[in-house]
Symmetry: C2
């Protein structure tokens, strides 16, 4: 689905939040683990319960592919079922896989995650654009053909993101070149609300860059990591939103799905996740409506 569709769902729930489903053995509540249950089954139960607890207040989930791939071949079944269940419960599904390649190989990745016949129920996929437009267009074409969308890494949330991304290249930085490329390539898919199907990942820990990119690339919808466990705060993400409070969705993963670690023994994990999601919604309401 397009980012226009996502923005409407955000407006409906008044919540520009995406919950990262990044399950690890350490985050699964002990109540779901036992000698009779394999880790992959426990994670599936955990994910389903989280989706049930969040789907009426949070518009989107973002399964991080790495954690499913780390489970081995069986993990892809968990990913498949997690994506399908989230969509069934009305959530927008962003698969965070940061795939990236060129030509027929990029088309194969698009076939895997953005086609009508994909095994995975995905609305949007994250993509690494280091290879340039050859590495973006096959994903983008598939997104346009199949009512999906992609997010390209622009300015990532990690401490070393500047090593490459902040290099001064001519009149602008490398990540600004990337952002401008997306704004330009996306011109042919803008929807009613103005957003193309070519979004950008721009991290919360760099609030000045985030706010500048919002102004610089008005048709590009943002996925904003780095809020919560990675240290970002609501004030940091304020600049991600335009004058209508539109244009971005903010991710939180461990702070929500692992909220039970601060509240109890794990038996209340779903309620703890919901409470933390409500707290985050309140936190963001102040900045995303300004």
């Amino acid at each position: 689905m397009s980012f226009d569709t996502l923005q409407r769902r955000i407006d409906e729930l008044q919540n520009p939040t995406v919950v990262g489903l990044d399950p690890t053995a350490a985050l699964v509540p002990p109540q779901l683990l036992s000698a009779e249950v394999t880790l992959d089954k426990a994670i599936l139960e955990y994910n389903f319960a989280l989706i049930d607890a969040l789907c009426d207040i949070v518009p989107a989930v973002k399964p991080q592919s790495a954690y499913y791939e780390a489970l081995g071949v069986v993990g892809m079944h968990v990913l498949q079922q997690t994506c399908a269940y989230a969509r069934e419960r009305g959530m927008y599904v962003i698969l965070d896989a940061k795939r990236g390649d060129i030509g027929s190989t990029a088309e194969a990745y698009a076939q895997a995650y953005l086609s009508a016949t994909s095994d995975y129920t995905v609305d949007a996929l994250t993509v690494n654009g280091y290879l340039g437009s050859d590495g973006i267009l096959p994903f983008y074409d598939a997104a346009k053909a199949n009512d999906k969308a992609i997010f390209i890494l622009v300015k990532t949330s990690n401490p070393s993101s500047g090593e490459l991304q902040d290099l001064d290249a001519g009149e602008k930085k490398v990540f600004e070149h990337m952002g401008d490329l997306l704004e330009r390539l996306g011109a042919d898919s803008r929807g009613e609300l103005g957003y193309s199907r070519l979004g950008a990942v721009v991290g919360a820990p760099y609030p000045a860059e985030l706010a500048a990119q919002r102004l610089r690339t008005p048709s590009t919808f943002f996925l904003v990591p780095g809020y919560g466990a990675q240290g970002g705060e609501a004030a940091d993400v304020a600049g991600a939103f335009d004058a209508h409070g539109h244009g971005a969705i903010v991710n939180s993963s461990r702070a929500i799905i692992g909220a039970w670690k601060k509240t109890g023994d794990g038996s209340d994990f779903a309620e703890a996740a919901r409470n933390e999601a409500l707290r985050m919604r309140g936190d963001l309401a102040i900045v995303s409506r300004s």
Copy 2:
């Protein structure tokens, strides 16, 4: 296994070639397809026959993960079995997955593909380093801990690779910054032949850049795509090798595994692949020994 180990295997076979196992429905010989056989089973048979035909003359294979992911969940079984069989036949296995992320997510990818308990028998993994050293070190640490190696994208083989990679940033281009970062980070894992466990992808279609990078980053082993089907020729890759004819492995995918398309109806696909691999070995012998 380290790049020293790979270089020794290359020397033994006098062949700096890696064959890309990039199977698509169009490349599978019709003899392997029938109403009773699913595409994943046909691809597995195709891969096994190619490995049998090549393992005594080619030191390494490079399965491209995208083509297996495109088959859906079942494709990961095909990838798993292909990697295992190639290793069983003595080949060095480079998984071309271009993964990239940070922190615990990068660790999860490393767990998936570079750990002792991985479902996939992989010697080296390709990684996208756009996120900087935070996105490289977790993979590199896993490689050092488990006798494996990684290749980071530096200067890719596609026409648009320059959009980001060739930007002038200070005294050098973006891809030179990336190459220098790898050369520096890799200093603590150099083996007897001088190569670290942190390699680089540098494409054949840019021979001047390739030769300059060889001189600039002497401890960095190169994976060179873009020979053959992508238009590169032997003269283009000459600069990838040092004075000893060492330091690089050149990939060819479709030109070898799809060689049968030029020679017959598909019944001779394994022989056609072997003949093309022998031709390529001869072609490279001239330049890699100079």
